[in-house]
Symmetry: C6
Subunit: 201 residues, 6 copies
């Protein structure tokens, strides 16, 4: 069953898109931040590639912490837990990279994420967004889950051309090639402006 779009913008929850043998699916990535000692917990039957993807994401955030107004000590004094329901379903691959990174930034900075946005894309250590597979099935799943805006890797542009207008017509497709662009679209406008202003000082 699809995870339908949330009704409210929330902190630490971001909608991802998955591609399985039976079609596309949405998955709601949850991140909790808790006082701790710098551990990263990953639950929900994540495979090795997906776990590494989460680690790349957190390193990206740590290396950008000054920009995002995160204190140096934050990652030593807190634990971060990423969970992806449904807990019995194995999940793998790098395509939830930007989704997990966005959920972590949202949770760490307490910035809400737009409830009507979903996204897919591999993340690199420097925040580049790399192309992913199964785009057609993912777009269809997003549509069925009442998503309004879908963030897609810039390098997947050609794959989108092959998707019928019928499917795409009520979706806003935004091409992204780095995490800053992802955040600009995924964080609520107001929140993003505040983050920018703080960073500009």
């Amino acid at each position: 069953s699809y995870d339908m779009a949330n009704e409210n913008d929330e902190v630490g929850i971001v909608r991802g898109l998955a591609w399985t043998s039976v079609g596309g699916d949405t998955l709601q990535i949850e991140v909790n931040v808790m006082p701790g000692k710098g551990e990263l917990q990953l639950t929900g039957q994540l495979g090795d590639v997906m776990k590494e993807s989460a680690r790349a994401g957190i390193s990206y955030i740590r290396s950008m912490s000054e920009k995002y107004n995160i204190k140096d000590s934050f990652f030593k004094e807190n634990d971060i837990h990423i969970h992806i329901p449904e807990g019995a379903v194995p999940k793998d691959g790098p395509s939830a990279g930007i989704t997990m990174a966005t959920a972590m930034i949202s949770a760490v900075t307490k910035t809400p994420v737009r409830a009507d946005v979903a996204m897919t894309g591999e993340i690199t250590l420097r925040g580049r967004v790399l192309p992913i597979g199964g785009l057609k099935e993912k777009i269809l799943a997003a549509k069925n889950a009442n998503i309004k805006t879908v963030l897609v890797p810039d390098k997947n542009r050609k794959d989108l051309d092959e998707i019928s207008e019928e499917i795409k017509k009520d979706l806003e497709i935004i091409y992204v090639d780095n995490m800053e662009r992802v955040l600009q679209e995924a964080l609520t406008n107001h929140a993003h402006e505040i983050m920018q202003k703080k960073a500009d000082k």
Copy 2:
């Protein structure tokens, strides 16, 4: 053999419902809290999915610690042990999620749980309750073990319709979609009111 309903409301003990190849079963989840250094012990031949489910539960509790009047230092200065008898029987799956979380909250806050309540449901990091399988067999097992009230995920409503009135007639079925609702029903009324009042201050 079924674990029959306890005679007394107890702290840190909650009745779960399991579904095996030979039918439904009840299992009595036990939680002990001990002075320690923040470790989580899981015994009783729990599989990977079930262990992750326990970890999602504890992160939920940690993130809600202010609400539940738990000191920040609690999870650094205590160990939590979840054990599920019978120790030789392998157990797995996410459906004991809310049961383990309830037992932990009960043990951590020293709040008794109603002896005549059983429950089943996957928990997410934010305390949402997700649907589970084998509901019919579980309901039957609850009935046989003299349970009075069964908490069932809200998203399993349709599955309940398929169960005969004969089976359901002496059971109170309560639909739950988040952990707060679970606690409202599972904790003894008096205990729950006190927890609420403290949280309201």
Copy 3:
């Protein structure tokens, strides 16, 4: 070969009963307590279920430490080692649970255990005693090893009825359903009385 009953009541040594493909056997569980940093060592080719059983036992003891006059810091400042000879023989199952717990309590509190007592039973985190298998073979092994008293889970009563009077006639069979009852019988009378008095204060 059977481990024959000891001649003297000893601290940290308790007779257990095992059930293998070739019949019943006795095994002498040894526990040493040493200044350390809170580690639990388990040797003698114990399987996963048996190791978890030992961990359930130690958590039970830690949660009852006030009652048994054990200082909070004890489990941080000491290591506990459980060894079951014969070291090359694999051992598994939950039925040595109460035996290991009794040996640990004896070693931690320096209280001697009756040399003529043997026991079998799964332990839960709260000290309940659950039923076990192979009772007939175990009783026979106890008799052959010159044991005088055998502690048996209360829920195995019906299994005992099936054992011939010939075998049972010189054995005192005591039904137990919780660890307190086990200790009442296994610890030497004098020692148990002292432990009780201290706890009553």
Copy 4:
């Protein structure tokens, strides 16, 4: 798809060359340095040989830290993360050794690396450069990715003779037999001069 040459010289990003069953490829090795406790993270589905190669590289750098003006405490107070996109593709072998070492030195010393340089070569603990396989395919991949200069192990000279002039004509091939020579070519000229001057003092 090839990782095309970057447009700008960057810190902590170096172009490597890989050889797979389907031909040569380029891969962009990313290194982030973050305040931490001396851990080395390796992501991107790196095999055992490649991980050991990264460890040899970091030990080389640590042993040369005085020369490279790196404080002794640096490696205790920072974490280093090496990531190689594309995260789902398994990668192995020792031939990215000098590439990973160059990226680490660049990131640790904040010295930019020339965007139009690619390299291949095994590294030893003392910074020697050992020969690698698949040179022809790698050279071809470098050419296709708009690389201008390729660093090749000195002991691969004979392999280069077998590559057609057509392929080599617009590429500058530089033979290297130790890490100092690699850095001399890979770091931007200005940066390298500054590093040398500091070391000479």
Copy 5:
């Protein structure tokens, strides 16, 4: 090839007896004690049972440290390394238990062991000596290696009767049932007397 008896009594070196598919063998167990942090290193391709046997031995020694004049802090401030050459030959089983324990006591207390003694026997946590297999082959190996005295578990007496007088005639066979008896024979007389006197105070 047999490890022949040493010419000199040494500290931390004890001769054991092994039984393989091709007959008996002697092996020279070496123990080094080094300033450290309480770690136990086991090398020489020791199997799981043998490693547990070493751990039972060290726990026995720790629990007897007062008797052997070893300071409480010793096992926190030193590392113990047990190595059994020949390093490529897998070794397993519990029968080197008393040999490893004797070598450790010798190394820890700096007490020399008689060069002409060999021994075999399982050790328990309380220092009991349990019977072992392959006695005939082991006795023969001891004889061939110029051993003068062999320590044999008391419970192997019957096995010794089956060995021809021809083999036994130049060997002193001493039956042992606990570690104190082992040390009495294995440590050089003078050293043992001193250890006793210190303990008697």
Copy 6:
């Protein structure tokens, strides 16, 4: 390809001899010592036996630290990294024991090793040198790599008789039975004399 003899005596680099299915080979063992916290890193695809051999070597050195003028705190405040190129080739067996130990002593004491010496031999915890296999192939490899002196375990004397005079004629073969003898030959004369003098004080 053979690792040819170095031109200069170096610190922390020693030539070993390996024996594979395709004949003998030389391998250049590299050791770096770095400020750290007492860790031993082993890279270059070393098998379990070889890793244990390295650990036996380091324990030997630690136990002899007074003799070699190494401060007690050295092994707590430094990391030691042993790397054996070529990193993709699996290596195993105990015969590099004395080579790794010599390289470590050289690196720890900053004493150069003769560039024209190669060696083979298992090391024990007490510095004894045990015999190895494949001597003929190893001697041939040493000759081909321009080695002048080869250190061979004393217990391999008989194997050397079977090697033709043609092969042996330009090689100096020195029999060694303990690490002190190894160092006497492998360290440069001057360095060894200084080490001796310091030790004699």
